[in-house]
């Protein structure tokens, strides 16, 4: 089997006396969509922050593409081929949709210490940005400032920017948060389309979406992994039902 895109071992993060992430080991391969679920406060976003370099782990190890990256700063992790999207939309509000994607794509130039040629004349950067816009189905909205987008479109832009950096591993923190049914369906389609070419780690609350998308599920409770396996196995797992699924059946 190929090397996993992402592997963690005994990953732990303490905030003072609180252990937000406790002894987490997981793997994610290209072509795999690994969903992490769990009740609020289970440590899912903290886990993503540890993987993306937003936070440094207290102990344990993060490996990307077979390389130890524990404690590397976020920009270095990004350059290794990791794209991250945020739970709370995190885009350049005053830039247009295209400029958001163009700037994201520009990050893949060997260096942006270039001072003379206008940025908009870098063909390969424009092409990568256009492709991301198209993938995220934002065609026709390129020149709209991000502030003028609907919530759903902003979420799409968030993913488009992540894609414009041509990541191999995608870390998606609740891409469906706050979306209406129609918008959600569109995003689920987009994620399905992306799944074959990428390794994806997804944190999500929407159980319908998770079970429709995920090839592997990890359930977290109080910072630790409760169970991990195929969606069928997780659905059948009694512990999980008690701890999590059962209590949120009504959702």
């Amino acid at each position: 089997m190929t090397e996993p895109a992402l592997r963690t071992a005994a990953l732990r993060k303490d905030f003072g006396g609180l252990t937000a992430v406790n002894d987490v080991a997981l793997e994610c391969r290209v072509g795999e969509l690994h969903a992490v679920i769990g009740p609020n406060g289970a440590g899912k976003t903290t886990l993503i922050n540890l993987l993306s370099g937003d936070l440094a782990p207290s102990s344990g190890r993060v490996e990307l593409f077979g390389r130890d990256v524990t404690g590397l700063p976020s920009h270095s992790i990004s350059q290794l081929g990791v794209g991250r999207s945020y739970q709370r939309t995190n885009i350049f509000m005053r830039f247009t949709v295209f400029e958001n994607c163009r700037l994201a794509a520009q990050s893949r130039l060997p260096s942006s210490m270039r001072f003379l040629k206008p940025a908009v004349r870098y063909r390969e950067v424009n092409a990568a940005a256009a492709r991301a816009v198209e993938l995220a189905e934002l065609c026709g909205r390129e020149q709209v400032p991000a502030t003028a987008l609907s919530h759903g479109e902003r979420r799409q832009l968030e993913v488009a920017m992540t894609l414009a950096t041509r990541p191999k591993l995608l870390l998606l923190d609740e891409p469906l948060a706050g979306m209406g049914a129609e918008e959600s369906a569109r995003m689920v389609e987009l994620l399905k389309k992306l799944a074959p070419g990428h390794a994806m780690l997804l944190v999500e609350h929407d159980m319908d979406a998770v079970f429709a998308l995920a090839s592997v599920l990890t359930v977290m409770v109080n910072g630790a992994v409760l169970a991990s396996g195929t969606p069928e196995a997780i659905r059948a797992n009694r512990e999980v039902q008690e701890a999590y699924l059962g209590s949120e059946d009504g959702e």
């Binding site: 700063p73 990004s78 350049f92 830039f95 400029e99 990050s107 893949r108 040629k117």
Partner: protein, 316 residues
């Protein structure tokens, strides 16, 4: 390059024509006055690169202006002229080096802390210069002869002549203006605006933002150095006040008054502040009261600066 509003383009072009023609009719006093305004405009543009485009509000920018001015003083032998390019190069170099060192520390902070540490570095240098007798102490020192440019015995201009100095300052100002516009449209320029807008996201996109901020800080420092060199050569005098936080503060006022993050704002701001200062000084000894009142009014009415006056004409 980003297109400017048509009205502003017309105003800028008319202004340029007027500036080019002015020495044909203007008196020496006004020639020297406008030369100073143009130098301050260069200085203000350098600060706007930090404040307006990168979102780094510095209250210590006079440091780089001052060290470049003092560098010219130190490089000028008594009663002899310093070389034009050597002294200019040395002044820019020392300002850039100072910016590299200061930037390395201050860019680890942000927001209010950034303001405080830039202020601290500025004041440290101010007091050092103020209390150093070999630098002239609180009185400063004179530069008796202006730098001379000679190419094989021929010199294209003579800085001792007010009109020549005027055109050198004008050429430098225009050069800095267009260089900054090219810079801001480049990939580097897009990175710094991204940093201003959302630095965290820039890092997450893979940009090592510290590096870009440091380069930007050094560029801004070097440009401030250019202004410092010009002022010292023009006035024939350096003194510690050039490094003081008053200088930094006045500069920040010019940028805010003119319009942060607009290419022509700093020029408009520098011109407005200097012209009003001159005007009000002629009226009353309480001129600072008038100037203060004007600034309050203009910030209230034109929060995006004087450049905003021209924006509203955009759809003519």
């Amino acid at each position: 390059m980003e297109r400017q509003p048509r009205a502003l383009q017309v105003v800028l072009l008319a202004g340029l024509v007027a500036l080019v023609a002015f020495p044909l009719v203007g008196e020496k006093f006004y020639l020297q006055f406008i030369t100073k305004v143009m130098i301050m405009a260069i200085f203000a543009m350098s600060l706007d690169l930090l404040v307006g485009y990168t979102g780094l509000v510095s209250l210590g920018h006079a440091l780089f202006f001052g060290v470049a001015a003092y560098a010219l003083m130190l490089l000028t032998p008594e009663y002899q002229a310093a070389g034009f390019w050597t002294s200019l190069g040395a002044s820019l170099g020392i300002a850039a080096l100072a910016a590299l060192v200061v930037g390395f520390f201050v860019l680890r902070t942000s927001g209010i802390y950034f303001i405080m540490v830039t202020l601290a570095f500025g004041q440290m240098t101010y007091f050092y210069v103020h209390d150093s007798s070999h630098l002239g102490g609180s009185d400063g020192k004179y530069i008796y002869v202006r730098p001379v440019l000679e190419i094989a015995g021929w010199s294209p201009f003579d800085l001792e002549k007010p009109s020549h100095f005027y055109y050198v300052a004008l050429a430098m100002m225009v050069l800095v203006y267009f260089s900054l516009r090219v810079l801001l449209a480049s990939p580097f320029g897009r990175v710094i605006s991204g940093i201003k807008e959302n630095e965290h996201r820039m890092r997450m996109l893979g940009f090592a933002t510290f590096r870009y901020k440091l380069v930007c800080f050094v560029l801004a420092g070097a440009l401030a150095g250019l202004a410092g060199w010009l002022v010292a050569a023009h006035d024939g005098l350096v003194n510690p006040e050039m490094l003081s936080w008053h200088q930094s503060g006045q500069l920040l006022m010019m940028v805010i008054l003119g319009g942060m993050g607009t290419p022509s704002g700093p020029i408009l701001g520098a011109a407005a502040l200097k012209v009003l200062e001159l005007l009000f000084q002629g009226w009353t000894k309480h001129w600072q009261l008038l100037l203060g009142g004007f600034i309050v009014l203009s910030v209230l009415l034109l929060p995006r600066g004087l450049a905003q006056l021209f924006e509203s004409w955009r759809r003519d």
